[in-house]
Symmetry: C2
Subunit: 131 residues, 2 copies
DNA sequence: CGGGATCCCGCACGATACTG
DNA sequence: CAGTATCGTGCGGGATCCCG
């Protein structure tokens, strides 16, 4: 091993969201996307069925919820459990990885909610400042 | 105070991102948006000038960066410091609130980067499973 | 109930050019 | 350098219908 190797990364950390081509950016967008964040947040409380989820995430269309769930399932964040009954029953729940990610997300969400008054005040000052 | 007063304005936590009409959802979208998250993440390391930021957030256009920064400044997450010199010099830095939010964001980003191998593996299994 | 297929519109976004 | 202005378009995403 070269002694000139300044940043001797013991482990390989090749993933960097700030680089355009990095696949991690795509996953970050699934996670932080308009519906992805709310879906993961909602699922953190426990497993939910499709229409329960749809009611919980106010405003999401069937199509977008379906699409969002597929992306999250593909990324290994959500587990889909379908029972071949009639009528069909499908439950969605977080994987351990999804749970971890949703934890960070929920902390962020709570933070934004908690400090929303500050945000609103900042907006008023901003709008008032430049006429 | 009227007993018919439905919404108690003096409550502490009236904000709920899961409700479609809640203003906190808009702010969450600014923060978790495609460029918002990366911009806040980049600024956490210190103040940056416009083009420095543009280079750091690989792939962002001038227009989108400008637009993103305006939204974040309006929400009180970013402070813009313009010096009337020639050539002009403008520095962007996080406010205390922005720093707090960006902290959560960066934790999320690191988490996604760290576990990207798991995500990629999950994708392969998903793609291979249902042909 | 849990979706898939299709149609279609708006605007988020990129590219380009211009300004102080 | 640090942005605005303008224009064109891709696709995000809503609406609707349908099926097992």
């Amino acid at each position: 091993m070269s002694i000139t190797q300044e940043h001797a990364e013991d482990q390989n950390l090749p993933y960097n969201v700030f680089a355009k081509a990095c696949p991690s950016r795509g996953t970050l967008e699934h996670v932080t996307g308009r519906w992805g964040a709310l879906t993961l947040g909602a699922l953190r409380e426990g497993s939910l069925r499709f229409n329960e989820l749809r009611r919980r995430v106010d405003g999401v269309s069937e199509k977008m919820l379906s699409q969002t769930l597929q992306a999250l399932e593909r990324d290994g964040l959500v587990h889909r459990e379908a029972q071949p009954t009639n009528p069909p029953r499908v439950d969605y729940e977080l994987t351990p990885l999804g749970h971890q990610v949703a934890g960070h997300l929920l902390a962020l969400i709570r933070c934004v909610e908690d400090r929303m008054d500050d945000v609103l005040a900042a907006r008023e000052e901003y709008d008032g400042r430049q006429n």
